[in-house]
Amino acid sequence: MQPDSLTLAFDTSVAHCAAALLCGDKVLHEMAEPLAKGQAERLFPLLQELLAKADVGWKDLARIGVGVGPGNFTGIRISVSAARGLALSCGIPAVGVSSLAAQAEGLDGPVISVLDARNGNYYFQSFGNLDGAPPTRCTLETLPQIPARADPAVVGFEAALIAKHYAGHICLPIFPTAVAIGRIANRQKHDTKSRPVPLYLRAPDAAPPKNPAPAILP
């Protein structure tokens, strides 16, 4: 095992704590625990258990891969903050990976990746020869256009419904989330400077005050 190729990947963008330790694309260990609450408390103990299984320490890592969403805002921030702390303290790069890309990892040809954005909304991104457009948030009515007769593989939330819309076919993710994040992070070796940034795909809920300020007279 070459210690300089160890990648630690983790994700808390949905109701789980998922982590994987990769050497190149080889998965040394992975863990995923369903967890609706307490991700902030569980994440580091889980990562420590994972490293202990492989008998490696934090200082042996070469790279962090972190899920940046889209997903639960708080969950995304838990992992991204942790990754930024680890990157700074270990002196290694942290690579942000979108959950939409992670879900589509390893699928060939035109791929449409969809995640639940709640209340009838979808997080959407296309890959393969369909790609080019950045990820987006949409409804069934506003699903983006793709070229005719593309027959895309559709992966993720309500895949059957979306596949019907695009006259495509359903696919399942090939890799567990954290493993996919690690694989994608490995391919960003050249980028050692940029830092992981949450992918919210939704503006913060905030409205200017309802009552306008009074007219000020001289």
Partner: protein, 365 residues
């Protein structure tokens, strides 16, 4: 108390992202080697107050750059540190969580101990960082989110003599500014406008002065301002600048009068404990208000108790206070493990009954 300690502090519980490094050589003054504060006023300006989700989004991307800047300023590396202290509550949970997770990431990679700090303890212990006050001292903590009188017995022992039962005064300043068409943050804007105003023109209420004890209320005062504003607008077809100045001055006078009287009561209770070196200190953003500060100083003179007001940059949210509070806790033997939780609510005084928001998750402060 024999060891020299160097602590990195991190703060992200409201709308300031901050990192600082404090060193203490026993027997000498603590030294702030670096203090970086990245505010978010511009991000929240259009919303008339701090928007939690906007604040949380900013913290995630600023914590690491603030920490790096602090290390650079102090010309130190992680190996020069003894521990990392982080605000673990109370505050806006999104920001607190980001800070706690970032700190855990730093501790994992460096092997440094982690110390979770109560944000209020940070404020309450600042007079020891700046003025070396001896325990026990009396503290008025007054900010946008908090308002309480505390007797500080030790770094981990506090008695709350009283506090607000509704809004914090800083919040009231923000709301009054919004009502009067003044910019945010409201504290400095209201103070500036009040300078040319007549503090005796409007007799705004002085809430809870007729009741014993040190509890305060600022919610009704806000409503009184709204009524007066609406009356003035109806009379003149708009708010005249002179009227606005008078409203600001009268509002400020009301708040200052409440603080003066409640401070008298708090001082009496505190002095009954026979402290060896009595002292009164203020902290929090509202302590920057010169009218309020002057009235507190006057009361202290009446009681012949020294008045300590840390410099403004250490009164408002900062990370030097977190590093210092962490240092005191670390020295007392406190350490946290990687399961440290971020707490939206975390009262300093766990024995006194909760003043507000004592829901399922406990008292707010």
């Amino acid at each position: 108390m024999t060891e020299t300690l160097t602590i990195l502090g991190l703060e992200s519980s409201c709308d300031d992202t901050a990192a600082a490094i404090v060193r203490h050589i026993p027997g000498s003054m603590p030294e702030i080697l670096a203090s970086v504060v990245e505010g978010q006023n511009d991000l929240h300006a259009n919303f008339g107050g701090v928007v939690p989700e906007i604040a949380a989004r900013a913290h995630v991307e600023k914590l690491d750059t603030c920490a790096e800047q602090a290390l650079t300023q102090a010309k130190l590396g992680f190996s020069d540190l003894d521990a990392i202290a982080v605000t673990a509550g109370p505050g806006l949970i999104g920001g607190v969580l980001s800070g706690v997770m970032f700190a855990k990431g730093l501790c994992a990679g460096t092997g440094l101990p982690l110390v979770g700090v109560n944000h209020l303890a940070g404020h309450a212990l600042t007079p020891r960082l700046t003025n070396q006050l001896a325990f026990p001292y009396l503290m008025l903590l007054v900010s946008g989110g908090h308002c309480q009188f505390l007797v500080v017995h030790a770094a981990d022992e506090y008695t709350r003599l009283g506090g607000t039962i509704d809004d914090a005064p800083g919040e009231a300043f923000d709301k009054v500014a919004r009502l009067l068409g003044l910019p945010q943050p409201g504290g400095p804007a209201v103070e500036q406008a009040a300078k040319s105003g007549e503090p005796m023109r409007f007799a705004f209420p002085r809430p809870l002065l007729d009741r014993p004890g040190c509890d305060m209320s600022f919610s009704g005062l806000k409503t009184a301002i709204l009524r007066e504003r609406d009356r003035l607008i109806a009379e003149h077809g708009g708010l005249r600048q002179t009227d606005r100045a008078d409203v600001c001055a009268s509002f400020q006078a009301s708040v200052a009068a409440v603080f003066a009287e409640k401070t008298r009561r708090a001082l009496s209770e505190y002095l009954a404990l026979n402290p060896t070196q009595p002292a009164f200190a203020v902290a929090g953003g509202v302590a920057a208000n010169s009218v309020i500060r002057a009235s507190l100083e006057t009361v202290c003179n009446e009681f012949d108790v020294p008045f300590a007001a840390p410099p403004l940059a250490l009164c408002t949210d900062n990370a030097a206070m977190i590093a210092w509070a962490g240092l005191e806790r670390f020295r007392a033997g406190y350490r946290n493990d990687m399961s440290l939780s971020a707490r939206p609510r975390w009262p300093l005084d766990t024995r006194s009954p909760a003043l507000l928001g004592s829901g399922k998750k406990g008292a707010k402060a």
